[in-house]
């Protein structure tokens, strides 16, 4: 259930959807360099405008991540962190992960999750007791 566009989707722009306190971005296919840079600018503005505490970037539809797109993702995470929002990259394809490691680009500052659902859980429950292995809390 999205509450509307936080960005202004048009040709050459990636739409930024708002879902409560989380901004959701889905990157599809091959991204033009300038579109990636535009997304980076749009997102920092959207984080400030919406007061979002989380940014989820779905790259399951992305066939390759080169050092340019890798840098854009890392910078989005860094700038969001300065604006008090946490970024989670979701759905990286296995072939992309293998290639990134061989390329030497392990993006240590980037949080990842395998699905959007897992990312939202991660953003909702950053407390240590939510980790697997931690004592389960009694539910009413």
């Amino acid at each position: 259930m999205n509450e509307g566009f936080a960005g202004h989707p048009s040709a050459g722009r990636v739409p930024v959807l708002r879902l409560g306190r989380v901004l959701l971005v889905t990157i599809q296919g091959d991204l033009h360099d300038s579109t990636a840079q535009q997304l980076q600018e749009d997102l920092s503005q959207s984080v400030v405008d919406s007061g979002a505490t989380g940014v989820v970037i779905d790259i399951s539809g992305v066939e390759i991540v080169d050092s340019f797109l890798g840098r854009v993702l890392a910078e989005i995470a860094a700038q969001s962190s300065l604006l008090a929002a946490r970024t989670v990259v979701v759905g990286m394809r296995p072939a992309v992960a293998i290639t990134l490691v061989e390329l030497g680009l392990t993006l240590p500052g980037l949080d990842t999750a395998l699905s959007t659902e897992a990312a939202l859980e991660l953003l909702d429950a950053p407390v240590p007791s939510a980790r697997p292995g931690a004592p389960r809390q009694e539910r009413p």
Partner: protein, 146 residues
């Protein structure tokens, strides 16, 4: 090693839109030659790095794509050429973390790790030519010492 079936395509590299054409061409060529998904991804990523170098540091140029055959293995050879300022210290340019621009410095050295064969020719004022080749049905090349 291998017989060249001639230049199959020559693509201009003059804008970031051309980078998308390069990636699309390499993806299709690699898929047609029978490269697996991981190998396709590596080759397209290497091509993207090298094409961006050609654009950003070489001031634009071309990519040539050739289909090679060696026994039962098919090869895809990509040659990136520019007439830009060239590279004075190639060893330094290949080392991780080296950058003369705004990149992460993973372009050349990273691309070299993603392909089977890698050759570079460059001199100050003489432009740069990078030639990479990957083959179907071959294991990744041995890892370098880190």
């Amino acid at each position: 090693m291998g017989t060249a079936a001639g230049v199959e395509a020559r693509l201009p590299i003059g804008s970031d839109l051309d980078l998308m054409w390069v990636r699309q061409h390499v993806r299709q060529a690699a898929a047609t030659l029978g490269f697996g998904l991981v190998d396709q991804t590596k080759l397209v990523t290497a091509a993207s790095e090298l094409a961006r170098n050609t654009l950003v540091y070489g001031g634009g140029g071309t990519m040539e794509s050739e289909h090679l055959v060696d026994g039962s293995s098919h090869g895809l050879r990509l040659t990136f050429s520019d007439e830009g300022p060239g590279i004075a210290d190639i060893e330094q340019a290949l080392s991780d973390g080296f950058t003369s621009g705004e990149g992460l410095g993973m372009g050349l050295g990273g691309a070299r790790r993603l392909v089977h064969e890698f050759a570079i020719e460059s001199a100050p004022g003489a432009g740069t030519t990078v030639r990479v080749t990957s083959w179907t049905g071959r294991p990744p090349k041995p890892r370098e010492e880190f």
